[in-house]
């Protein structure tokens, strides 16, 4: 095969720096290849984000390589990031010369042979097909839906995730071919930092990490602050359980983040920047490192970028596993090599941040929005979303949903659209009970909020927060007391211990919740005491919110108080009736033995740690309720399904 003479330098020269719009036919052709509008040999794409890896994408990849070698097929294999359809992983896409790219779901290694046999001979495997991508330049497959028309994608508005899962995250050229770095190049060549800030302020871009502060204003504050050395920090310490937006952006399109950082750094007047990456994000780390090195080599990072005189260095720092380091001042302390405890504000980081120098801390998603804003202008950006919350928001939707994954919707989309249109409703047709928005520090939304538009203002009005994008949906089988306890337990562990309201307060809240979910002991935990605890919860929550130093403490009571507000009945049941309607709270479970089904095998009696089961061999057994501790061992060991949960 003839090697192309077009290098990355040519691409940069012709696409980014060339002011005349003439592009040579050769380059045109090369771009079509990079964008895979047409391919000269089969290309097999394997969804290899972390979700893909856990679903077994590596094994599928091996099986594919093995197949290609065995059958002597000349094909290109590309590892992509996550397209957001985590529920369908491992995903394998195939693009044959002259044909549209088709996508298969749940491709386990044993399916590889049949699937490739069929597809490489221009037949598709109907059973595992997801859809095909629209491509005007190729012949479409018959009777296969377009990916863009699938309900999952139809209601989304993908800007940041546009290329995630489609392009090769290891290839800088592909990103440039798709229009990447164009915004940075044109900015460096012809715009001042103030103009960039102005555009971003006008676009109304708000911090996607949860704060919702106008990003352009933050940059302005840092740019105008006194001092030579300033810093930009990209907060990628995404530690909310059930949130993986930032990781997917970095794994799927790392160059987008780099371009966003370069633009932000230029606008805020910083030349040194850090990415504070969560410690367990190994794959994301590998991809962003490769992307940074490639950009450096191509002159898109480092000294004198694109001959504009602008310098930027990006250093990766991995976190060390502290939830509180998602808070910007705690993160700064951690970068300085200290314990990750928050600092009192003011002074704000934009005045005195890292090493006491003006510092901008932005979240990954916020920065990933910037290239689009600069390329398309503020007005175009505002076409999506609502007036006060323009743009789109990426959500990681998980929990009891038919389709868990990563989505991007315009601000103002309702919960109903997300859950029922995009995610396909609740698993197994169960009823919707609640949705936790904003992770452990967020609030729960209930069925009355299904039609509330999701944007900063309307969420605030119902005492909820946007958070960073975690959305956990629970069904009717979930115990809300247990869920609240889970969040409080998480926050109590995450509390850094610096200020008393958060350190002690979360501990007390957990204690109260444990009290009402525990099996009552003789003399202790009388109903009145348990009830008093709950009565004090609201007051306790108020004090914690009002007096804590940082965001963690201020929002810590939220999950509990919001659950208490909407599900007080369930709390009361736990307190007065000592009953958990979902049978989740172990301490409140009671078991009985179905005398008809019990064969008297004695297994349960032998295993019971409390000797609470009595009965003669070959005769039905009984459980002495007073002795039973609710452990459920009898339930697990019974071979005849004779032990029942009451």
């Amino acid at each position: 095969m003839m090697m192309s003479t077009i290098t990355t330098d040519t691409l940069i020269e012709e696409l980014l720096l060339n002011t005349t719009l003439e592009i040579s036919a050769d380059l045109q052709n090369h771009l079509r290849k990079l964008k895979r509008i047409s391919v000269s040999k089969p290309v097999i794409f394997v969804g290899s984000g972390t979700c893909g890896h856990i679903s077994g994408a590596q094994e599928t990849l091996q099986a594919i390589s093995h197949y290609l070698e065995e059958n002597k097929v000349d094909a290109e294999v590309v590892e992509t990031g996550c397209i957001g359809m985590c529920w369908a992983e491992p995903l394998v896409d195939i693009q044959l010369p002259g044909r549209s790219r088709i996508s298969y779901q749940k491709v386990t290694p044993d399916l590889v042979t049949t699937l490739l046999d069929a597809t490489l001979n221009f037949n598709c495997d109907q059973k595992h097909i997801l859809g095909q991508y629209k491509n005007d330049a190729t012949e479409p497959w018959e009777n296969i839906p377009h990916m863009e028309d699938l309900l999952y994608f139809k209601n989304q508005h993908r800007r940041i995730l546009q290329h995630c899962g489609k392009i090769n995250p290891y290839n800088l050229e592909e990103y440039i071919a798709h229009g990447g770095f164009k915004a940075l190049a044109s900015t460096l060549l012809s715009n001042t930092p103030a103009q960039v800030r102005d555009t971003v302020i006008k676009s109304g871009l708000r911090g996607r990490g949860g704060g919702g502060y106008l990003s352009g204003k933050k940059w302005e504050a840092a740019a105008l602050a006194a001092g030579e050395q300033k810093y930009l920090i990209c907060n990628a310490d995404e530690s909310d359980p059930g949130a993986f937006m930032d990781r997917a952006i970095i794994e799927g399109n790392p160059h987008l983040l780099i371009e966003g950082m370069a633009l932000a750094a230029y606008a805020a007047g910083t030349t040194k920047s850090y990415i504070y990456l969560r410690s367990s994000y190994e794959l994301a780390c590998e991809r962003i490192l490769k992307a940074i090195n490639d950009c450096k080599e191509a002159g898109l990072l480092g000294h004198n970028i694109l001959n504009s005189g602008f310098n930027l260095n990006i250093t990766i720092r991995t976190g060390a596993g502290a939830f509180v380091c998602g808070e910007e001042t705690a993160l700064i302390n951690s970068l300085e090599g200290k314990r990750g405890i928050p600092r009192p504000r003011p002074p704000y980081p934009t005045q005195q941040g890292l090493f006491n120098k003006p510092t901008v801390v932005n979240n990954v998603e916020t920065l990933a929005n910037v290239p689009g804003i600069i390329a398309g202008g503020a007005q175009k950006y505002k076409q999506a979303g609502t007036e006060k919350s323009p743009g789109t928001k990426v959500f990681a939707i998980t929990g009891k949903l038919e389709k868990s994954g990563l989505i991007e919707v315009p601000m103002g989309t309702t919960l109903r659209e997300i859950i029922f249109d995009i995610a396909g409703g609740i698993k197994k047709g169960k009823a919707f009970k609640a949705a936790q928005i904003g992770g452990p520090s967020g609030s729960c939304l209930v069925s009355e909020h299904l039609d509330t538009p999701i944007e900063y203002e309307s969420l605030e009005a119902i005492d909820a927060i946007m958070g960073s994008g975690g959305l956990v949906v629970v069904d009717e089988d979930t115990c809300m007391v247990d869920l609240a306890k889970f969040f409080i337990d998480f926050l109590q562990n995450a509390s850094c211990g610096k200020c008393i309201p958060c350190r002690e307060g979360t501990h007390r809240m957990l204690e109260i919740l444990e009290g009402i979910t525990r099996r009552p002991e003789e003399g202790n935990h009388k109903t009145l005491d348990r009830f008093k605890g709950v009565m004090q919860l609201e007051e306790l929550g108020r004090v914690i919110s009002e007096t804590s130093l940082c965001g963690l403490g201020k929002t810590a009571p939220k999950p509990l108080l919001s659950t208490l507000k909407y599900f007080s009945e369930e709390f009361e049941e736990h307190i007065y009736e000592r009953k958990c309607r979902s049978n989740i709270c172990r301490g409140l479970r009671t078991y009985t033995i179905d005398t008809e089904a019990c064969t008297g095998c004695t297994l349960c009696a032998a295993k019971c740690p409390e000797n609470a089961i009595i009965g003669a061999p070959k005769h039905p057994h009984f459980i002495v309720e007073d002795k039973c501790n609710g452990c459920g061992i009898c339930y697990e060991v019974c071979k005849f399904d004779a032990v029942l949960l009451k």
Partner: protein, 152 residues
């Protein structure tokens, strides 16, 4: 050990306070945990009191002061996994191995760690033993999984 740690520090190209956490990370990578001796060596090399080094290392969840087992079990305790009853899974693990999270079994075969969200919520609950993932794990499978490693 001292030499090795010196090597790690010199390869890191920095001896300032802000280099402490990266150095600790690299030392832990090398030794699986942070041995007491390492704390003192790092303290001498970077000129930070040992109490400070320990204070920082003990603040972060990443660092541990005990060796992990030969088979290190990470259990996801994210929200989706919690909804899929990962608490029961943890209880079962604790009961089977008779250890708490953060500890290793006396023979050093197993250790347990709970982690917040691995990010594959559609497969919850998730358990990882060294580099192998087990997904949609039911409590009844725990024993079988452990036995495959016990018999290795």
């Amino acid at each position: 050990m001292e030499e090795k740690i010196q090597q790690i520090i010199s390869s890191h190209k920095g001896t300032k306070r802000e280099d402490l956490i990266p150095v600790l990370q690299k030392v832990q990578e090398e030794y699986n945990h942070l041995p007491e001796e390492a704390i003192y060596t790092i303290s001498n090399q970077l000129g930070i009191p040992a109490s400070k080094v320990y204070s920082i290392a003990s603040f972060y969840n990443l660092f541990r002061f005990q060796r992990t087992g030969k088979y290190h079990i990470c259990l996801c305790r994210g929200t989706a996994c919690h909804l899929s009853k990962s608490a029961e899974l943890l209880r079962k693990l604790k009961k089977e191995l008779k250890i708490e999270p953060g500890q290793a079994t006396p023979g050093g075969l197993f250790s347990i760690e709970t982690v917040p969200c691995m990010g594959a919520c559609h497969l919850s609950p998730i358990l990882r033993v060294n580099k192998v993932y087990y997904t949609k794990v039911e409590t009844s499978r725990v024993k079988t999984i452990l036995n495959t490693y016990r018999n290795k």
